[in-house]
Each structure stands twice: as structure tokens, then as C-alpha cells.
């Protein structure tokens, strides 16, 4: 079983602050992490490898410093890691990103072998679109299974996999043939504390660098210029001011709160 996991390096959302004066995000000093959903994709792939054998490859598109994310992936049990890094990718929207990742993955396939399961996180916590996974699946023309919460059954002989995925009001279990692409929810698994030999192996495994010249990526489909969507402007939502503290006895507090929200309750037709 060969898994290929797509991971994105993102700023740790918990530490990003907003500069309300300039309307931008302060990213300085904010540590970069693997997109939290993607860590569950790596974990799922490694668990399948542990059970059925094979290997886990990881591909990340990003700036050179994203090699740290890949080092982490190795430490979690990945075997081969690839960093797709080139100026021509800068400013790609999801259409261009899924193209670049698809084309970069061709190189991984060439080096490591055909892929049985592609994995992506459900969503990146910075761009927040949840579109890249579906985009890659479409380009590979493999079945897409989003919002996976359980890998129910893997049958390497029949080359089939059963997955439980989240629906708006419940779950559904689907069966797809491999290769397929799965996007992962946080509840898919618990990230294990990796054994030390994984980390030692990780420290010894190099990150393979890919760019537009050592792959077959067509630069005319990447980057800001070749992305159909453009960002017209970015701004910060108005800051919420710290409000009023309500004090007094329990009865007083609850009465005051009621008085404060009564107009709203009226407007909602609840009073």
C-alpha cells in the first residue's frame, strides 16, 4: 500500500493576531505548523502502512521553510517527503494549487511507485477553502471521499476501502476502489506519540526538492497570473470591543441581562 499525503504548512492560528490599524495579520514570530487536519491524514496513512505494509509519501507545496513540516511528517512515520517549491507557484488559487500538486505528484509516483490512497486534510486553517482535496481527486480522476471520520475496512486484495464520512446530519459509509482520495476530519484518529526509531530515521531522511524544472509542471497553469480567482482586497473584520460587565446579586444580574436583551428578543418576536 502506497499512500501519498498532501500537507500544507500554515501559521498557528492560535498565535496570529490582527493589526487593526493596517487591517492585516501579524504573522511575525508566529510559528508555522502542519495544518492540523493534515496531521490526521498522515497518521491514518501511517496506521495503514503499519497494518498492511507499504510506504507513506508526503508532498507539500510551499516556501523553502516548509521543509520543517515535512521533517515533522517524517517523524510521524512518513517514508519519503517532497517539497514542491518554486516562485512560479506563488499566488496560486485552489485551481492552480491542485494542478501543481497533481503534477508534482506525478514525480512522486515516478520515484516511489503508483499510489493506492491519496490523502488531504479536510481544510487548511489559513486559506479555509476545503477545495484543494476535491480538486486533486478530480485531476487524478479518482473517487473522492471527503470528511472521513473512520477508515472502516481496507481490502488490499480486492483493492477496496470502506470509509465512514460525516454528513450534515449524520454519517454515511461508502465503499470505493483504490486509488481514491480521502480528506480527513480531526476525529479520524488520535495522533500517536511516535516511537524513537521513527525520529531517528526522520533525522536521516532528506527532503526531496521539486520545482518547475525537475518536474513536468507547466508553469502557464500556476501562480497568481494563471489563477482564475484573484484577491481584490483583504481587510480585518471590525474589532469587537470589550463590553459591559454586569454586576450585582444573582437576581440583579439576570434581571439586568434581561433588560439589555429585551429589545432584541422583541425584534425576534419572542416577547
Amino acid at each position: 500500500m502506497h499512500s501519498l499525503v498532501f500537507i500544507k504548512q500554515v501559521p498557528d492560528a492560535a498565535q496570529v493576531r490582527v493589526d487593526y490599524e493596517t487591517g492585516t495579520l501579524i504573522r511575525e514570530g508566529v510559528p508555522a505548523i502542519i495544518n492540523p487536519f493534515d496531521t490526521h491524514a498522515i497518521e491514518a496513512a501511517v496506521q495503514i502502512k503499519d497494518k498492511f505494509g507499504g510506504s507513506v509519501s508526503v508532498l507539500c507545496m510551499g516556501p523553502p521553510m516548509a521543509d520543517e513540516a515535512l521533517k515533522k511528517a517524517l517523524a510521524m512515520g512518513a517514508d519519503n517527503v517532497f517539497l514542491l517549491s518554486d516562485r512560479v507557484f506563488a499566488g496560486s488559487d485552489t485551481l492552480a494549487t491542485s494542478y501543481a500538486l497533481w503534477a508534482g505528484a506525478q514525480k512522486v509516483i515516478q520515484e516511489v511507485g503508483p499510489v493506492d490512497i491519496f490523502w488531504a486534510g479536510k481544510q487548511a486553517i489559513d486559506g479555509d477553502t476545503a477545495q484543494t482535496g476535491p480538486g486533486i481527486a478530480t485531476r487524478f480522476d479518482v473517487p473522492l471521499v471527503t470528511y472521513a471520520v473512520e477508515i472502516k475496512e481496507v481490502d488490499p486484495q480486492a483493492r477496496k476501502i470502506k470509509i465512514v464520512r460525516l454528513l450534515e446530519g449524520g454519517t454515511e459509509t461508502v465503499e470505493v476502489p483504490m486509488p481514491c482520495l480521502i480528506t480527513t476530519e480531526e476525529t479520524l484518529n488520535h495522533i500517536r506519540f511516535a516511537p524513537l526509531p521513527y525520529l531517528i530515521k526522520a533525522a536521516r531522511t532528506p527532503v526531496v526538492l521539486l520545482n518547475s524544472s525537475n518536474t513536468t509542471i507547466d508553469a502557464s497553469q500556476c501562480g497568481l497570473k494563471n489563477s482564475p480567482t484573484k484577491v481584490k482586497k483583504a481587510f480585518t473584520p471590525p474589532k469587537r470591543e470589550r463590553g459591559e460587565m454586569i454586576e450585582g446579586s444573582l437576581d440583579e444580574i439576570v434581571n439586568t441581562v434581561y433588560a439589555k436583551i429585551e429589545p432584541m428578543l422583541k425584534q425576534l418576536g419572542k416577547v
Partner: protein, 336 residues
């Protein structure tokens, strides 16, 4: 990027999401918003969908202003499966060339939109919360939250059509505007043996089916609720206020409530009129999911809790006392 003749594309299309014979509310919201956009563009708002028996929806989409209703019916399309639905929809869009295509940003909608847009090489904006037409060039301006709601971005798509967007449920109002839509029925041949994905089982738990964004009042509890049994206090108050209850991630992780009740970055984003946060510390990831609520009432024993930074009204106190008191007092006032 492929150069397109964008003048061929016309009309605003809205995808009608349906489940078990019922239309999802967001689709009706989008018809209403789509009608406004169509007016600015000087064109028509149209509905489209695929499925087994979908013609029956014509009446309802007409009530919300759809001038035309494009459909494909085929028994194998009965249940949503990404690939066959995508192929049928791509067929419709390729043939009729709408200039705008809006899809609700639901679980189904976001699964579908990403693959449709890729097949069409179209630009797709995610999870939009505002839609406008640029008066100077008639481009659709789509505004959306990123970075867990910390940064808003206005996206446009100047050279490609259709301009696609998934739109967050609950942002626009569904307003009745009755018309009698013209039904355009296309045939798309696909048989079950061509479809590799099989649905083995569907579990619809009544409890878990909750779309928090439909509610105007949400009473949410965090780890400070102490134990699972105490979540009942949230439900009680929510019932009195005609709303629903929700929780923080820690509560989900503790196994006190299902994930479908979670508000925040990895849960649902909500913007009710009133949000009551009881025993919730106010971590950024939680706040990202509720900070656009109109009124936020925070109850926390810790006066330094970050939740007070975003609260309209703050109460330093024990939620296990404050919540029942609120329920008791509000009940008297609201019953009248």
C-alpha cells in the same frame, strides 16, 4: 489558463440542494440573493439540480423567484455521490453557460463545488458571506472569511466563467417572490455499473442533525459546565429562548456532546442574534466561530477569561447557578 469568450455566459444559477425529498434552506436563501444579483446584471436567476425525482421542486423554487429550473433526472442520481452528480452538473453548465453559479457551503455543497469547478477550470470562491456586483465591470465580488475569521478577503474572477462560489448558510434571507419557472429537463445517461462509489449505509441520528447556523439564539457551554449531565442546563435555557445549544471542542473531546454541536474553527461558524457562552474560556479557535454574533453574553468564574474580550455583556459567576436562574426568570417573562 485557457482563454474563454466570457460574453457567451449569462444568468445567475443557484444549485438546489436536496435531501430525502426536501430542499435545503440555503438554496432558497441563494435564490433570493441570486435574484438581487440578476437584477444588477440585467439577467435572470435560475435554479438547477440533479437527482432521481426533482421536478417536484419546481413549485418551491418558483416561490422563491427562479425563472427557469434546469434539471437532470436519473434513478442512479437518487442519493448524492460526488462523481455522477458532478458529471451531470458539468454537463448542464457546459451546455447553458451561466455567468454565476452559487452553491450552499454545506458539507455536500463544498464537496461538490470543488470538483465541479476543477472539471470546468472555473474559479471558485469558498464559503462566501457577502456577494455584490462591481458596478464598473459587472464582476461578482465575493467576500469571505479566512484565517478562522480573522481576515476577510474580497475575491473576484475577472476572466473566467462561470464565477462560482459556495455561500455560507444563514447569511442571506429567503424571501418569497413567486414566479412560475420554466422547466428545462436534460437527459444525462449514466448507469449504476459505471459508478464505482457505493453507499453502504447512512446513519441519520435525529440528535446529530443540527445545523447551528439556523438558530437565532445559541446557548453554548464549555468545559466549565463541569460534567455531561449539566449540559441539560444549556438545553433548558435554549428551549425557553427558542434557540439551540452548542459546545466548545473540549466538551466534544470529553465525550459529553457530539461534534455536530461544536462551535469554532474546526466546528461550525455561527452568527446568531444572541450567543450565550457559559464556562467557555474564549480560545481563539472558539471565538473564530462565534464572534460575529450580534450579542454575546459570557458567563465565567474567571474575570480574566479571554471570552470577556469579545462579550457584549460579561457576568463573572458560576454558570451552574446563572443558567438555571436565567431559565427560571426568562420563562416568566417570555411566556406572556
Amino acid at each position: 489558463m485557457i482563454k474563454q469568450d466570457i460574453t457567451q455566459y449569462k444568468n445567475v444559477w443557484v444549485f438546489i440542494e436536496h435531501n430525502e425529498g426536501k430542499i435545503e434552506r440555503v438554496s432558497l436563501e441563494l435564490l433570493s440573493k441570486g435574484a438581487e444579483l440578476a437584477k444588477d446584471l440585467g439577467c435572470e436567476v435560475c435554479a438547477f439540480t440533479v437527482g432521481d425525482k426533482v421536478e417536484q421542486f419546481a413549485k418551491e423554487v418558483g416561490e422563491y423567484g427562479a425563472k427557469k429550473f434546469y434539471i437532470i433526472e436519473n434513478p442512479v442520481l437518487k442519493e448524492y455521490r460526488t462523481e455522477p452528480w458532478r458529471d451531470a452538473i458539468v454537463y448542464l453548465i457546459d451546455k447553458y453557460k451561466p455567468e454565476v453559479a452559487l452553491i450552499g457551503a454545506t458539507t455536500l455543497g463544498r464537496d461538490l463545488a470543488g470538483t465541479v469547478a476543477t472539471k470546468l477550470s472555473a474559479g471558485l470562491t469558498a464559503d462566501t458571506t457577502a456577494l455584490d456586483i462591481d458596478p464598473s465591470n459587472k464582476n461578482l465580488l465575493m467576500t469571505r472569511p479566512t484565517f478562522g475569521g480573522n481576515l476577510m478577503a474580497t475575491i473576484f474572477c475577472p476572466d473566467n466563467r462561470p464565477q462560482m462560489s459556495t455561500v455560507r448558510p444563514g447569511v442571506f434571507k429567503a424571501v418569497k417572490n413567486p414566479t412560475k419557472p420554466e422547466i428545462i429537463k436534460e437527459k444525462y445517461d449514466i448507469t449504476e455499473d459505471k459508478i464505482v462509489k457505493k453507499i453502504i449505509e447512512k446513519v441519520q441520528t435525529g440528535e446529530e442533525k443540527v445545523n447551528l447556523s439556523f438558530y437565532e439564539v445559541i446557548v453554548a457551554g464549555g468545559k466549565g459546565m463541569g460534567k455531561k449531565e449539566n449540559l441539560k442546563l444549556l438545553e433548558d435555557l435554549a428551549n425557553v429562548l427558542g434557540g439551540t445549544w452548542a459546545v466548545s471542542r473540549k466538551v466534544v473531546q470529553a465525550g459529553w456532546a457530539p461534534q455536530s454541536r461544536q462551535v469554532g474553527q474546526t466546528g461550525q461558524t455561527v452568527h446568531p442574534k444572541i450567543y450565550i457562552a457559559a464556562g467557555i474560556s474564549g480560545a481563539v479557535q472558539h471565538v473564530a466561530g462565534m464572534k460575529s454574533s450580534d450579542i454575546i453574553i459570557a458567563i465565567n468564574t474567571d474575570p480574566e477569561a479571554p471570552i470577556f474580550e469579545v462579550a457584549t455583556y460579561g457576568i463573572v459567576g458560576d454558570c451552574l447557578q446563572v443558567l438555571p436562574k436565567m431559565t427560571e426568570m426568562f420563562k416568566q417573562k417570555l411566556v406572556k
